[in-house]
């Protein structure tokens, strides 16, 4: 409960900052200035970057892309993963066996490396990254939903069969989805965390949303070179990534428990 509340507070804070970024800072995120690499002061709380842009403004605006990518990818993952998991769990038997094998194999694959390869071919637009990360993370959703659906099916079949024999075929699918909704919600939050984790790593490696739009991973990459001149350039976006992923992780792992 407390875990979940902490997660929620962090998420709300990040969302608020991203939504109202233009009202919270006096500078546009892409507006260059004459003071390069200025350390933090009253005018620029996190200083300026190598092109004289306000770091705070870029961090706040950068949240937008990250949130859109995270939520979008989780949505895609659920759209693929939930039906796949329900089907495997509901059908059982051979279908389930094969589906489980495939899911386990996919989960073991290096998601980041796959995303890297695919992004290199398709180009790093927001939509592409959303689709790719959704595609990389659906097996986890599917595996979880499958497990739950399986358990509920067993329990329901026993009950339904006792109550009204033939109705079992109808009762079961109608009951499984509402019962797995909590698990799906939790896994949705965890997938958002994973997607932001991975997409920021992608952009750190140079395959993020193209400049000049602000993007946390890319900002860290540049900030790395100026760590001893204006540390905030790398540390501020790093902290932003950490807080956002942590928020969604706490929400997801707290909901499940």
């Amino acid at each position: 409960m407390t875990r979940r509340a902490c997660g929620l507070v962090l998420i709300l804070a990040v969302t608020f900052a991203a939504l109202f970024a233009p009202l919270l800072t006096a500078y546009a995120p892409t507006q260059t200035g004459v003071f390069f690499l200025a350390p933090p002061d009253a005018a620029h709380w996190f200083g300026t970057d190598d092109l004289g842009r306000d770091v705070l403004s870029r961090v706040l605006h950068g949240g937008r892309a990250s949130l859109v990518i995270g939520v979008g990818a989780a949505f895609v993952a659920c759209v693929i993963g939930v039906p796949a998991g329900l089907l495997a769990g509901y059908c059982g038997g051979r279908v389930d066996l094969w589906a489980t094998q495939v899911m386990n194999l996919c989960i073991a694959l290096p998601g980041l490396v796959l995303a890297l390869l695919i992004t290199a071919v398709t180009g790093p637009s927001v939509l592409n990254i959303v689709l790719i990360l959704g595609f990389v993370s659906w097996p986890r959703v599917a595996r979880l939903v499958r497990g739950q659906a399986f358990l509920i099916r067993e329990a329901l079949f026993v009950e339904a069969a006792r109550a009204a024999g033939a109705d079992a075929v109808w009762i079961v699918p109608m009951h499984i989805l509402p019962n797995v909704a909590g698990v799906i919600a939790a896994q949705f939050a965890l997938t958002v965390a994973y997607a932001i984790f991975t997409s920021s790593s992608l952009s750190f490696l140079g395959l993020g949303i193209p400049p000049p739009s602000p993007d946390w991973g890319g900002m860290v990459r540049t900030g790395l070179d100026y760590l001893s001149i204006n540390p905030a350039m790398g540390l501020a976006p790093s902290a932003a990534v950490g807080i956002t992923v942590l928020g969604f992780y706490l929400l997801g792992s707290g909901t499940r428990g």
């Binding site: 386990n104 194999l105 989960i107 073991a108 694959l109 290096p110 998601g111 980041l112 490396v113 890297l116 390869l117 695919i118 290199a120 071919v121 398709t122 180009g123 965390a193 984790f197 991975t198 920021s200 790593s201 750190f204 490696l205 140079g206 395959l207 991973g217 860290v220 990459r221 900030g223 790395l224 760590l227 001893s228 540390p231 790398g234 540390l235 790093s238 902290a239 990534v241 950490g242 992923v245 942590l246 992780y249 706490l250």
Partner: protein
């Protein structure tokens, strides 16, 4: 034990072939042709087709795959389009670097997860600490954690030399100080996920009846924990090590790139950015194949470590 290992590994080979074929097909055909990768997003359809034809990428994918595999088995992974160096020569010297960092991180994470969660003294203090570290490890991407460590230990405190790589030949101390931060960074995620799995299993084992029977013999809490609870909780850890191998590879790519370490991961990123298709393909295949093999090995280890399976 060896027989089981061998059998499972043999079984993993078809899986590896299927997966590599899929990867090959998706890189070479489904998502975009190699030429599209090499020429970038702005290429015209015509120039892509021309390049594909010139490099033989217009042949059926199955033919290309068999061709590539045939050469690979003979130790020929092609030549880099950028440096014109043989891919084998580019990859081989970097392999030990990645393996060293990856294995050290793996060992460190496993030991830390098991030891921190099996300690019985001052548990009320150590357990929350272990959890905090685990949450940090799971939620902070490697580049965030690594940057924080660099800032703290290299820039502010100046305890460690800055990023970069120092080979064994430069002496052990130099090597060790350069490898410390990358290994710490890379192990964090693994430590976190292992802690979650191991802790849940440890607590479940601690509730089992035989633990009470062991206490009735007069063993101390430490003896009960290290001799009985911990070893019984190890099995799912082995599976998790196999399952998160992919995550470790991803982490290695980011970590090597952050610390400028000449390993496979940074080579992959560089090749992707310079659109060097043969190198990307070779590394992709190696990585995917090793993940499949590592999974099978974890499976076999699981079987070998479980007396109920082992006897049969």
């Amino acid at each position: 034990m060896l027989a089981i290992l061998a059998r499972r590994l043999v079984w993993a080979i078809p899986g590896g072939i299927v997966i590599t074929a899929l990867l090959f097909a998706s890189l070479a055909g489904l998502i975009g042709s190699p030429a599209a990768l090499m020429l970038g997003r702005d290429a015209t359809a015509q120039s892509i087709a021309e390049l594909n034809a010139r490099l033989g990428f217009d042949r059926p994918i199955a033919t290309q795959y068999l061709d590539w595999m045939g050469h690979a088995l003979r130790g020929d992974l092609g030549r880099s389009y950028v440096t014109h160096q043989s891919v084998v020569e580019a990859v081989l010297p970097r392999l030990p670097v990645t393996l060293e960092i990856g294995l050290l991180a793996l060992v460190l994470a496993t030991i830390a997860a098991i030891v921190l969660n099996s300690l019985t003294g001052a548990r009320a203090l150590i357990r929350p600490l272990a959890t905090l570290l685990a949450v940090i490890g799971i939620t902070l991407p490697n580049f965030v954690l690594g940057l924080g460590l660099i800032y703290l230990l290299c820039v502010t405190l100046e305890w460690l030399p800055s990023v970069g790589w120092s080979a064994w030949s430069n002496g052990v101390p130099d090597h060790a100080t350069h490898i410390l931060l990358p290994v710490l960074t890379l192990s964090a995620y693994y430590y976190g996920s292992l802690t979650l799995v191991f802790r849940a299993e440890y607590d479940a084992v601690a509730r089992r009846l035989f633990i009470r029977a062991v206490k009735a013999k007069g063993l101390s809490d430490q003896q009960v924990s290290w001799r009985h609870t911990m070893p019984n909780a190890l099995l799912p850890v082995i599976t998790t090590i196999g399952l998160s191998m992919g995550q470790l590879v991803g982490g290695a790519v980011v970590t090597e790139s952050l610390f400028s370490i000449p390993g496979i991961g940074s080579l992959l990123v560089d090749s992707i950015l310079s659109r060097d298709y043969p190198v990307v393909l070779a590394i992709g295949m190696i990585v995917v194949f090793s993940v499949v093999i590592a999974n099978a090995a974890a499976d076999a280890l699981y079987a070998a470590a479980n007396p109920q399976v082992r006897i049969r």
